[in-house]
């Protein structure tokens, strides 16, 4: 995104704020106050994520005694939702809260750091990132873009989606017109589904009018906010296509490098706290919403048949190989991810806990 389209992208309201924020901010001798902007990919009303980004900023302000202020802008307020990475890369904003798989077209390797179909679940993705070499790879991928990533929250296992057609076998996918972006979409397309891409605001109407007969979104808590439970017959689980969606806090490296070491550490540790608390918020609110949905009995809760899941798993592996073949870095990341997943699965079986207690 160039400077012109960036400015053009600003709404009138945001422009005023943005204009003053765009000016260089000389540090006065009396105060060390630094003002940063964070662009997110979330609508302003999106709880857990947008509110998580705002809490992150608040934590940093308190910990730094007001020396580092981060102004948080929702998607479209300052930067379009899907231009966050670009804006951080170019230093148009100093930091962002988003998801790496949004940059998959430009950086195929990035998508392994959000989630991939039948990929790692949340405990394992954090283990990979923090202790298993994942962060080193992620940093390597973003380095050419002058961007530093950190994990910034996780949805846990998502839901499979809202369906107005029952899935009893692989054949039922041939009748599906489903809103499912990314790798999940590529997988169901292999089974003959028509994959429809729609912005968030248009999904409800499309499902209501039958333009689509299925859609995935996030999990029970956010799905109910979208109203899908009012117009869908079936709610399917599990979200095999997003088994643990990891978000990213990104920093423009030049801006980050200028900070004193205490503020750098404050950002790093606050990101870790964000990662922790966003997951807990998702899990808790999703559980509450799901129990409510189950109690109301208006929507029929369904699990994908095991045979269908095994087919989806096989096709997912194909899609990942195709993605990995797109560039050498994606190949390297895919290999490391596969090896890590295999080892953690072996460990899980040997210690027998996840399945048996």
């Amino acid at each position: 995104m160039d400077r012109r389209s960036f400015l053009k992208g600003l709404g009138i309201t945001a422009a005023t704020t943005a204009f003053s924020a765009v000016q260089p901010r000389p540090l006065s001798a009396h105060s060390e106050k630094i003002v940063w902007r964070m662009a997110t990919s979330w609508p302003k009303w999106l709880s857990i994520l947008q509110s998580g980004a705002e809490r992150f900023a608040k934590q940093v302000e308190i910990m730094s005694k007001g020396r580092l202020i981060i102004e948080v802008f929702a998607g479209g307020e300052l930067v379009k939702a899907l231009d966050v990475f670009d804006a951080v890369s170019k230093g148009e904003v100093e930091c962002g809260h988003s998801a790496s798989y949004y940059w998959a077209k430009r950086i195929p390797a990035a998508q392994w750091f959000t989630t991939v179909p039948f990929g790692l679940k949340v405990k394992d993705i954090n283990t990979w990132l923090y202790s298993g070499g994942g962060m080193e790879l992620w940093n390597e991928i973003y380095a050419p873009y002058n961007v530093i990533p950190l994990p910034g929250g996780n949805t846990g296992i998502q839901m499979g989606g809202w369906f107005n057609r029952e899935i009893r076998s692989e054949k039922d996918y041939q009748e599906l017109k489903m809103r499912i972006p990314g790798l999940g979409g590529k997988v169901v397309a292999k089974l003959g589904a028509e994959v429809v891409l729609l912005p968030a605001g248009d999904i409800y109407k499309a499902l209501e009018t039958g333009k689509i007969n299925a859609t995935e979104w996030i999990g029970p808590y956010h799905d109910v906010q979208m109203g899908f439970h009012k117009i869908a017959k079936y709610y399917y689980a599990p979200g095999w296509h997003e088994p643990a969606t990891n978000f990213e806090i990104t920093f423009n490296r030049s801006a980050f490098d200028k900070l004193p070491s205490d503020l750098k550490k404050i950002l790093e540790v606050a990101a870790s706290d964000l990662n922790n608390k966003v997951l807990a918020d998702f899990e808790y609110n999703n559980a509450v919403a799901m129990l409510k949905i189950a109690k109301e009995r208006k929507v029929q809760l369904r699990l994908f048949p095991k045979t269908v899941l095994r087919t989806l798993e096989r096709l997912s592996a194909e899609v990942l190989e195709e993605e990995a073949a797109k560039d050498p870095m994606a190949k390297k990341v895919h290999a490391a991810f596969k090896k890590f997943k295999k080892d953690m699965n072996t460990f899980a079986l040997l210690r027998g806990g996840d399945q048996r207690i």
Copy 2:
């Protein structure tokens, strides 16, 4: 613990450091530097836990620009391993790193905040604590002691232990002389096992000489450091008695309340980071150690038979009811914990992810 026994408990080497640390530390007008002491329940060499506490102190030092220094003392250096809570409560140290189930005799309700047999697994315990009302209960329990708790790391699902006798049915427990403290010990005692309590340093020899024929410890990484793989025939999984052992960072409330708000927040956020990273370190290192044990094939890896696990689960429920009956707060916590676990298990089944992908 009174002042005299506290001072008596100090070793010669530690005493010098401790003496200077015990003095009141006036804040000079030129520097706001505050020096705190942290007592842990870990041996100095215990990686992940003792090193985690030290990393926590380092993070706080960097984030506070050296305004809050925490001197970390291993178990026995300043305070005996199992006197940490007392020392924090009385303000003999300002903070501690330990586990709440060590205080179970005095505070029966405390043990639900570490782990209980067939209790919550790590994702769920964090969800309960951070978002599901757990922290409110934990704070209520520690308030009379002038102590503030925060989660400070988790082992994940532990291992069942090292056995020199095979477990094929419940009857085999009658032949067991097992080192297994706490609630797990009470459960296996119901099956006729002889429960032996031994300090860490004596376990290896007891297992080697046959004084005991089984012992639990932590997980593969730390267990191998203890050398148990050299003298045991079987390594059993899962660690049903400790499905997700949560550690605690504790603060003396009076000391904490005196801090300015930035330092309070720095401690809170650093604890959250510690919780995150300790878990990742356990998971990663345990996986690596477990794969090595499996590859070497010297020890036979075993899963407890399903029927035995179901019996242990039933007896665990009995033990928990007995513990809950000990005081009203334990009863209240047990009820909240059971309700939360039931709801999360229902959610897990409905979303079908943990079992199927």
